[in-house]
């Protein structure tokens, strides 16, 4: 029987890593780190988790230690946030290109300066191109479920890629809410043991991360791209199997009253829940509005996005990060790119909001939708608007 408990989402993630029987956790414990690794350290120290916990001197070292552990064939987990993710940056590319299926939860936070530990997606967008599978969660349950899925997906022989599970800083990480935990036996059945095909071993020497001169580099990158694209099939299979086992279902793109809606809002992460409340209210008033939530950020679900929005007249995209000097929000640019070649497509209107922990209330989402509709009808000189900013 699954157990329903009221728990801080960060602690629930640590419990999920325990249920997944992570062999190695390497982490740096200082701000902007969260209770995730604090609780893992406690579980290991209390003997509740049979795991090698490696405290390191920086996030750069945390990811480096994870590479070594994963290369040696250990199921490897870590967590970070904000500036910590940025310090990991260069090592993250190595994890994906050496096909090391590290699982990492990222508590999404703003970046300095000014100093901010509050939530937005600035940190995520800076690691967009690191070659990791990236999945967004909207609440604590989805985070726990997808941490379990992440091990199964990443470690699948057809994939062997690192996976990031993103959850909004504070909006999820610091909230106590109900979470259903599956039985250990169910999780053991759901996540098969990790067996890297060629792990580092003194008796069977292998070379990892060798020189890639011009004659081979492009081929390795093509192979990496093909592999990441192909992982989508395995992700879909995993979510399907998860749904059958645990009765909770996940898709790359999820819809909420979107089928006949003329106007769609698109969000990524926990703000989708608040947006649903706004959509409910507006629909109650007879407005034809719906919501699209982007769950799978990498590999980007082109087909599913095109399918989900094709009948709408306007698509309003909310980004929680800013590409300075660029086209506005990174999610909006990717959506526009995905739809550019389509004959039948909605007008795409970009908003940036919720920066650095600024709340967007249900009333705020109503404002965004109404302003988006206005722009879709009258046009605008701006590529995008920052919602709620004082000028």
């Amino acid at each position: 029987m699954a157990k329903r408990v009221g728990i801080e989402v960060s602690l629930a993630i640590a419990e999920a890593a325990k249920l997944a029987r992570a062999d190695v956790v390497a982490a740096y414990p200082i701000t902007p780190q969260t209770h995730i690794v604090e609780h893992l350290a406690k579980l290991v120290a209390d003997g509740e988790m049979d795991t090698q916990y490696i405290p390191v001197e920086s996030e750069h070292s945390a990811m480096s230690a994870c590479l070594g552990a994963s290369a040696a064939g250990a199921r490897t987990f870590t967590a970070t946030a904000g500036q910590g993710l940025e310090l990991m940056h260069e090592v993250m590319y190595v994890a994906s290109s050496m096909q090391l299926p590290v699982v990492m939860t990222v508590v999404n936070r703003a970046l300095s300066a000014p100093l901010s530990v509050w939530g937005d997606h600035s940190d995520v967008m800076a690691v967009r191109d690191t070659g990791w599978i990236q999945i967004f969660a909207e609440n604590g349950q989805e985070t726990v479920d997808n941490v379990l899925c992440a091990f199964r997906i990443g470690e699948d022989r057809r994939v062997l890629l690192p996976v990031m599970i993103h959850l909004d800083g504070f909006y999820l990480s610091h909230v106590i809410e109900p979470v259903l935990f599956p039985e250990q036996s169910q999780v053991d059945k759901f996540i098969p043991p990790y067996q890297h095909p060629m792990p580092l071993h003194p008796d069977r020497p292998v070379t990892m991360g060798a020189f890639g001169p011009p004659i081979i580099y492009a081929e390795t990158k093509k192979a990496q791209e093909v592999n990441l694209e192909a992982s989508k099939e395995v992700i879909l299979q995993c979510w399907d199997e998860f749904g059958k086992t645990f009765k909770r279902y996940y898709s790359p793109v999820e819809s909420y009253h979107s089928e006949k809606a003329k106007v769609l809002l698109l969000t990524m992460g926990s703000f989708g829940e608040t947006a649903m409340t706004a959509i409910d209210k507006m629909r109650g008033e007879g407005r034809e509005v719906g919501l699209i939530r982007l769950r799978l950020w990498r590999p980007f679900p082109f087909k599913e996005i095109r399918q989900a929005v094709k009948n709408a007249e306007a698509l309003i995209v909310l980004d929680r990060a800013l590409s300075f000097g660029g086209p506005g929000g990174p999610v909006c640019s990717e959506i526009k790119a995905a739809l550019y070649g389509e004959d039948k497509k909605p007008k795409v209107i970009g908003f940036v909001g919720g920066l650095g922990g600024r709340d967007i209330t249900p009333a705020g989402f109503e404002e965004i939708i109404n302003r988006g509709i206005e722009i879709s009808q009258k046009g605008s000189e701006n590529e995008f608007e920052i919602f709620g900013v004082r000028e």
Binding site: G6, I176, P178, T274
Partner: protein, 197 residues
């Protein structure tokens, strides 16, 4: 607090170190153990010991809670430290016919005179109870007793397990303080259209 389906929003006012966040967590855990949906979270900031802080709880009996933002218009306000009244507007955004649960030594009448709005008022001398039972003037668990008495948002017994888990060997004293506050809390309706809601 009559409608069973309704989302109930509680805002806690305390000072850094007084355990407002812990109280919010415990109440949410109690509600979840009753099969309800609940959320608890702190106001997010660089909290310092002694500085005014906020914590929030949402409880919904039947529907999952789909809102992720601070509570600006609470149904219930809990005040852990009466001296906050001169620094913070604890009534900010309080819904009409909302409930204020306050720790104060003052009489109900004197406390009532401080508030000029249509709210139900509950008061208890939590500091004295905490000093007597816990030996320290930390009123967070004590004030949970007052909250439950004034609002019935959760069953008092639902809090026993979360408190045991949280406080271990200190749990019993905290539970006793909570129970004593529950007994001693005085509640008064206020305003002209108190029958509404």
């Amino acid at each position: 607090m009559t409608s069973k389906n309704r989302l109930i929003e509680i805002r806690w006012h305390g000072r850094g170190g007084q355990g407002a966040v812990t109280s919010a967590e415990l109440v949410a855990q109690a509600a979840i153990s009753e099969g309800k949906y609940a959320q608890a979270f702190p106001s997010f900031g660089p909290e310092r010991r002694g500085a005014p802080v906020l914590a929030f709880v949402r409880i919904s009996s039947q529907e999952p809670i789909r809102i992720r933002a601070e509570i600006a218009q609470p149904d219930i306000v809990v005040v852990l430290d009466p001296r906050l009244l001169s620094i913070v507007n604890v009534l900010s955004g309080l819904k009409e016919n909302g409930i204020v649960v306050i720790n104060t030594r003052k009489s109900l009448e004197d406390t009532e005179a401080q508030f000029k709005t249509k709210c139900k008022l509950a008061k208890v001398d939590a500091t004295s109870i905490a000093r007597e039972i816990l030996g320290i003037p930390i009123t967070n668990t004590t004030m949970i007793g007052a909250l439950v008495r004034a609002t019935g948002v959760v069953d008092l017994e639902s809090l026993v397990e979360p408190l045991n888990r949280r406080f271990g060997r200190l749990a019993e004293r905290n539970i006793n303080a909570m129970r004593k506050a529950y007994e001693e809390t005085q509640v008064k309706e206020w305003g002209s259209d108190q029958a509404r809601g």
